[in-house]
Symmetry: C2
Subunit: 491 residues, 2 copies
């Protein structure tokens, strides 16, 4: 196609040829082939004007750290439009970071029997217990929060300080607070440990997940694929439930939520295991995943490894364990995190190719994909979508300015991509809208338009783990919401 | 090719297939097809070890701002190896930033009749004059530096403050001093104005250019294509010389330098005009360029537009003027700056495509190329090399972390690329070695190896404006230097 445009010899540029090349490029990008209705075209014009104004702002939010940009984004007319927009599914979200930390503090920590201690390294831990819990090493004695708060005139300061321990978000300069990837990941992992005792308490666990679905639903997404560790959930007397119970509880709460919100399509779980474990633990986890998939075929979407790629073991290290399902002829789809790294040329950097060779269904992050042309081509040709989480990549210090995000290049060629939020609560975000904003405004400046937004919403269903028939249903539901959205905005 | 590797259905990954894909990817990158001699392979092993150690450093220089990284780079064994390496040609360097500012202050400003004034906006201006020069508006009264210095016990402070006014380099936090592209570009333009009166004084002009060649030669580059404004050069009595005189002087000094350094291959000039001018000035400039090309066919390589793309006029605005040579059947090669921008989707952002449609011989910067798949393909298929200037892009705030530089992706597919330094003195760099360091260590982590270095050196000759026969000569000279370098390092 392109070669036809190559001028032979020296010629004066032909404006029609120029126009044709510009249109060719426009047609190649995400949404470039989408045919728009009249109403959509009207909305497109509106959006273009909003974009032009946004790009004239002295502080251009996608060029700034999200912690500094958040209050600017919140006042952006584009953002409020994106909040209203039906965004389809959230395909890359983790179990421990679905819910705003304020809910956790105001709701979870105010329940009876909630104990807290302070660790040596300035983090906090929680446990709910009917009796005084046994002391935790490297932690202060346990304090019953009910008692602590009863002695206070005003608990605001305490609550704020708990909140600050459950999120990376800060009003200080993020470059100073988190000077390196090591520092921000350490803090990130401390937050997970702080959340653990709160969220794995059975009554909180159920409500937390229901609240998580509420936040996604309120943000006008209609479907979720949740990466979940499926930990043991405990009761007040210290008794615990097994993995299957946890998965079943997710399923029950999802059903309840759908019963309460009939226009919410549903949720599925991707069982995740930490990539720091040894081969025998990984083998057991894959066995467990196959069992869960057999017992919950409708609800368990597949399997993934979590934790910092740079410090964990590469996928290839676990190849035997990860080959078990194929060896046994059992279906266990993979949704591997891969390429969330700067360590170009190292063993970890092979994860992208190995994820594809292990037949991953999608790639989590794929930040390094642009520097791996073979993996990039395989991902494109096999239709393996990249789950792009812009704010996560920025907070975890892979990228500063969203305009340089590799997904901008991928989407200029309509590489299969979905946009998600990874750990929104820990990053001070919520739902999908903030990440949609960064992608829509940051990745291609004035270029992405309404068709871009439509395509990434449709992608979130097309590249979901849903079976074809379910995808059709989900698409029909989404289309109804979309048409309503377009007509309401343009009226 | 790739499709042959696509597994049909679900299979266990085959280690041989994996190995083949990894090798395929390695063979695609810059240098991936280069066959190495035994001595080169030995050097490669050495380099790989150096890289591994470099990547373990707590402060990884390519991830930092160059101003903070420079002292780390200077102590890096890789850097000292790159300094010794014969790097071929510097194809993107500007006339007013070839020479270390210390030389300017210690040499140029110490000459007799040098006047300086302080502008309202904290910059400085110079003029050499046999009589007291007329006052300059928005500037303090002129001070004869000879008189000023005579009154001082110690001139170090004065000299340092002059130096600070002639470079963007600072020991303070660059993010604080230059918070935005606007601020850094304003300062950049002030520096040009400060340099103007110093460098356009005929005696300094000659010596400055000779010194500029010396710095390039000392850094083991052997050829230069200098983008030059060819300004009027003045004498002490205020008389001035025309453009042809300036070009002729460049030619004479180049000949002198070659006579003094027979293993230096030479230099050519790319005549540049500021993109802020109007159409009639541009038309005159193109006419002038055609005349100069006719009169100096061996020495004038071509034509380009300079100045900040975001604020200047797009190439398409000047299409009639830029089409004149083709209309007249006159050869005037173009070397357009294009895509040195974040303003995706705007008129300025069309420069990349338009440069190609105007038959540019190379693209200056091409920073936005990755987001323009059509322009990218045209550049590749037409063999139009991108002149990548990593430090320039970082100092002028297009990129923070070199690992995310778009050239990393381009070079993973061996897109035609040369590495250059743009305005080394203004950025606190010198020659090519600092930019080679950023590219070699920053762009692909452990992946780029000796073949990468060899290929970018060869590219600098292959994509130069030299005629085929001259390229052969230059390559032969370079190869001799290269073999000597390899054998000396590995002995
Ligand atoms: Zn994740
Ligand atoms: Zn330049």
């Amino acid at each position: 196609l392109l070669l036809a445009f190559l001028p032979s010899g020296l010629t004066i540029p032909d404006p029609r040829q120029r126009e044709a090349l510009m249109q060719l490029e426009a047609s190649m990008q995400t949404g470039g082939q989408t045919v728009l209705t009249d109403a959509e075209l009207q909305l497109d014009t509106l959006l273009f004007k909003m974009k032009q104004e946004e790009m004239l702002r002295a502080d251009f939010p996608p060029a700034m750290h999200f912690f500094k940009a958040r209050h600017l984004i919140r006042t952006s007319p584009i953002f409020s439009l994106l909040q209203k927009m039906p965004k389809g599914g959230a395909l890359h979200v983790h179990d421990f970071s679905m819910v705003d930390v304020e809910w956790l503090v105001k709701n979870a920590t105010y329940r009876p029997h909630c104990y807290m201690c302070l660790t040596d390294n300035q983090s906090i831990r929680f446990i709910f217990s009917s009796r005084r819990p046994r002391p935790l090493s490297h932690c202060s004695p346990w304090n019953l929060l009910e008692t602590v708060r009863a002695k206070m005139v005003n608990t605001t300061e305490l609550d704020n300080s708990i909140m600050a321990n459950l999120t990376l978000f800060t009003h200080q300069d993020p470059a100073t607070v988190y000077p390196s990837q090591d520092v921000v990941w350490d803090r990130f992992e401390q937050i997970f440990l702080a959340l653990w005792g709160l969220v794995t308490y059975a009554p909180v666990f159920r409500d937390y997940y229901y609240q998580g679905l509420t936040e996604i639903y309120t943000d006008n997404a209609m479907y979720l694929e949740l990466r979940a560790l499926l930990p043991e959930i405990y009761e007040l007397d210290g008794s615990t439930h097994d993995t299957a119970w946890t998965l079943k509880t997710y399923q029950e709460v999802t059903r309840q939520f759908r019963a309460d919100h009939p226009d919410f399509f549903g949720a599925r779980i991707i069982f995740t295991v930490h990539r720091g474990v040894n081969i025998s633990v990984m083998t057991d986890a894959v066995e467990e995943a196959m069992k869960l998939r057999r017992d919950f075929p409708e609800f368990l979407a597949g399997f993934d490894l979590v934790g910092r790629e740079d410090k964990g073991r590469p996928l290839w290290y676990f190849r035997d364990a990860l080959s078990l399902p194929v060896e046994r002829g059992v279906t266990l789809p993979f949704f591997f995190h891969a390429g969330e790294t700067d360590l170009e040329g190292t063993e970890v950097d092979q994860n992208l190719l190995d994820a594809l060779l292990l037949n991953t269904s999608r790639i989590g992050h794929g930040f390094a994909l642009l520097r791996h042309p073979v993996a990039r081509d395989l991902s494109r040709k096999k239709g393996v979508a990249v789950e792009v989480c812009p704010i996560s990549n920025q907070v975890l210090k892979l990228i500063n300015d969203m305009r340089n995000h590799p997904a901008a290049a991928l989407m200029s060629e309509n590489h299969p991509v979905v946009i998600s939020s990874d750990d929104p609560a820990i990053f001070g975000a919520s739902g999908l809208s903030y990440d949609f904003y960064e992608a829509f405004v940051g990745f291609g400046g004035l270029r992405p338009h309404i068709a871009f937004l439509k395509e990434i919403a449709v992608n979130s269903i097309r590249y979901s783990s849903l079976a074809p028939k379910q995808q059709e249903e989900a698409l029909a539901l989404w289309q109804k919401k979309w048409d309503k959205f377009v007509s309401e905005i343009t009226q």
